[in-house]
């Protein structure tokens, strides 16, 4: 176990306390031990304090009936179900709002970045104003603006705003007319699914052929055509429209039917998407601008058209720069969803806070919340890092 380094250094006659290698290792050991001691002290102190205050640290309570309601649970839930179930409902809400937020923020952010880069003065300035507004106010404030200010101007349920669709907007939420599958609907979906799979296969085969032979294979029109054909065939097989439109209507206290976004969800989703879109826009703009002008000029000189310049030269290089900071934005968005507590959207943190109170188990619940966010973040990074590795410059 003894270190070999001091003996070796004897030949050069440098004393061990001036041997750089020894000093480096010593510094490592000292700092590692200090950190360990600190952690050890913290854990022991915590356990002692918990014992002194008679706080139970077991997770057994998760099986007990939760007893508290959750607004609009996305998966089946009633208060007679367990705390574990309540926690799952919260997790489902977190996943829904962050999933929807990530998609919307990415699309919106990219569009805003393009607008920001556009040579059109008005468009570029509007994008700039959007970015600066959303980037420079705290998310919580944005959340309150949407939830408490904007929704306070929305009419009560009995005189809802009706937008074409029809979409009904009132204090209770946004009710969209929503297409739902008819009984023969699945037939249509299967036909369409087969069509899409065939189209993707045709696309890659024809494109490969084109890359190998240089002959035009019309891979784009062919694959789009396949999808259209499967759509028409599916529609025909299903015997008419595979969907019916579920239009919301006022019954009793509330609207029934259609697709409903509660004000809590809508407020959270909008704020998260807009806020993160502003950051994503800057990330995307940075990535695009980092591609040197020479690359674009060279691509043009080769005779590529504008679309080819962007898709074959600019984007592949820009993506390498964009993806890593984009991952942090996605993680931020997911973690920021915990602010939903303030406006009564019951994601995992809000449910956890209630569970702490109703079950009186602060430490296990917080451990559970931290573990949940940690796994969500690690999972997101893991998936995106795989993608990131694929698009990185391959050094041969």
């Amino acid at each position: 176990m003894a270190l070999q380094t001091p003996q070796k250094t004897e030949t050069t006659a440098i004393p061990f306390y001036r041997d750089e290698r020894v000093l480096q290792i010593a510094a490592q050991i000292i700092s590692a031990v200090l950190i360990f001691i600190l952690l050890y002290w913290a854990v022991v102190n915590f356990l002692r304090a918990a014992e002194a205050r008679n706080m139970t640290l077991s997770f057994g309570f998760l099986k007990e009936a939760a007893g508290f309601p959750i607004s609009n649970p996305p998966i089946e839930y009633d208060p007679s179900m367990s705390f574990a179930r309540a926690f799952l409902v919260g997790l489902a809400n977190t996943l829904i709002v962050s999933g929807a937020g990530v998609v919307t923020a990415t699309i919106l952010g990219t569009l805003i970045a393009l607008a920001r880069l556009s040579s059109n003065w008005l468009m570029s300035r509007i994008a700039l104003a959007f970015i600066e507004f959303h980037r420079n106010i705290p998310l919580l404030v944005l959340l309150f603006i949407w939830y408490f200010v904007v929704f306070s101007f929305v009419p009560p349920i009995k005189d809802s705003l009706v937008w074409p669709g029809p979409i009904f907007i009132n204090k209770r939420g946004i009710y969209l007319s929503w297409p739902r599958l008819t009984e023969t609907g699945p037939v249509f979906l299967i036909a369409l699914g087969i069509g899409i799979v065939v189209a993707i296969a045709a696309f890659s085969i024809l494109r490969k052929k084109r890359q190998e032979t240089g002959k035009k294979t019309y891979f784009m029109p062919v694959s789009i055509g396949l999808v259209v054909i499967s759509f028409v065939v599916g529609w025909f097989l299903a015997g008419g429209s595979p969907f019916w439109i579920d239009t919301p209507s006022l019954k009793g206290f509330n609207f029934q039917g259609g697709m409903r976004l509660t004000p809590e969800f809508a407020g959270m989703y909008l704020s998260l998407s807009l806020y993160t879109a502003a950051f994503i826009a800057e990330v995307v703009r940075g990535g695009i601008q980092a591609v040197s002008k020479g690359q674009i000029e060279a691509a043009r000189a080769l005779g590529l058209n504008q679309f080819q310049v962007v898709s074959l030269v600019v984007m592949p290089q820009a993506l390498r720069i964009i993806i890593p900071p984009m991952i942090s934005q996605y993680l931020n968005l997911t973690k920021n969803s915990s602010l939903a507590l303030a406006i009564g959207f019951q994601e995992v943190f809000a449910v956890g806070k209630i569970a702490i109170n109703q079950a009186g188990r602060a430490v296990p619940v917080f451990a559970l919340i931290m573990a949940t966010y940690l796994s969500l973040s690690l999972l997101t990074s893991f998936i995106l890092n795989i993608y990131n590795r694929r698009i990185q410059f391959v050094v041969r």
Partner: protein, 374 residues
């Protein structure tokens, strides 16, 4: 580099095991590197242990006396119970109780620091003894008693009710099916609500916030059809609405809500002190001792009055470590139970008017009753 670090880490683990086993004995090997480490280690380990043990030992009274004021878990957002007056001073039914305790301990009703807590935060705050008293219209339940702390004396008998808009045309809870209800999270209210709807086989949609201000804001803004809480709280909130007459509190009471100040677990003396102050406030009303006449009453010919004011006999102050006139000071500071009630919720109360009902003295047909001070 990584390969060379492996023995270092192995050494580290061995070292740590040795350390945790014998608490920092002599250096196991002759290496200078190791010796330096052991020296650095002992400082945090020795300094850390007594500090960790300190909060668990020593009574709350000792801590309060040492600190010079009482830390009171309360609220600032509920008219009548815990609010701020125009000078930014914490006042209210619950807060005055904390002041009474402070007056009993320090003869100074201002020796109080009020920590505003949300409904969801109050349990952990009491559990970890961050507050000396939790006086924040907390409902006493058996599970809270077991988990949070010790509940003292029921100071306010309440029950959960429903508030609805008058123009909704609803007159009874039978018409509640499908309604949207605004409720505060982490409360007994939240559970009672779900029990009530479940038992009656009705559906509802809950809109849940942590801050009561958000709950009632959303209700007033028509996000919900109904809001529910302790009836006293509903009365308090309604008094603050833009148009209080547009809302009615239904006659039905769906639960028992004994609002009770609580103290942290593990200190019987402090528990007794807080209890005796509550007894004193109630007995004072019974005996006719008021904030105004407390000095004159010290020469009363009623032996019970003299005992309460510490003029005769020992009501327990020696064992509790208080002054004989501690209870007299408490009454001089905030008045008796009835005076506190009337100050905020009486006919001329500064917040709103709520008939005393069950919160009358037992001699007047209510439930307020306290053991004798003797």
């Amino acid at each position: 580099m990584t390969k060379r670090l492996i023995p270092v880490f192995a050494l580290l683990i061995v070292l740590v095991l040795v350390l945790s086993a014998c608490g920092g004995g002599a250096a196991p090997e002759g290496q200078t590197v190791v010796e330096t480490v052991v020296v650095t280690v002992e400082v945090p380990a020795e300094g850390g242990e007594p500090a960790a043990a300190a909060p668990a030992e020593g009574g709350i009274l000792a801590r309060v006396l040492d600190r010079g004021y009482v830390v009171c878990g309360g609220r600032t957002d509920l008219a009548g119970f815990g609010m701020l007056d125009e000078n930014g001073r914490n006042v209210g039914f619950d807060i005055d109780f904390c002041r009474a305790v402070a007056a009993a301990v320090f003869n100074d009703p201002e020796a109080v620091e009020v920590v505003p807590l949300t409904a969801a935060d109050r349990g952990p705050a009491l559990q970890t003894a961050e507050v000396d008293i939790l006086s924040r219209n907390v409902t006493w339940t058996s599970s809270r008693d077991a988990q949070w702390g010790n509940f003292t004396t029921i100071m306010f008998y309440d029950g959960q009710g429903f508030m609805i808009r008058k123009d909704s045309g609803i007159t009874s809870t039978d018409e509640f099916d499908g309604a949207t209800v605004c409720v505060t999270s982490g409360t007994t209210t939240e559970q009672n609500l779900s029990d009530f709807f479940r038992q009656n086989g009705m559906e509802y949609e809950a809109v849940i916030f942590e801050e009561s201000a958000a709950v009632y804001g959303a209700y007033e803004d028509a996000r919900c059809d109904i809001t529910t809480s302790d009836k006293s709280q509903l009365a308090s909130v309604r008094s603050g609405f833009a148009d209080p007459d547009a809302h009615i509190i239904l006659d039905i009471t769906i639960s028992k809500e004994p609002l009770t100040p609580a103290v942290p677990h593990g200190d019987d003396t402090w528990f007794d002190i807080v209890k005796v102050v509550s007894y004193a406030l109630i007995n004072a009303e019974e005996l006719g001792i008021t904030q105004a006449n407390v000095e004159d009453m010290k020469s009363s010919d009623n032996i019970n009055v003299l005992r309460l004011l510490g003029e005769e006999g020992d009501w327990g102050y020696t064992d509790l470590g208080l002054e004989p006139d501690a209870l007299a000071n408490a009454i001089a500071a905030v008045g008796n139970y009835g005076e506190i009630y009337d100050r905020y919720m009486g006919p001329n109360g500064i917040s709103f008017t709520l008939p005393r009902g069950p919160n009358n003295l037992w001699t007047n047909g209510g439930l307020i009753y306290a053991p004798p001070i003797k």
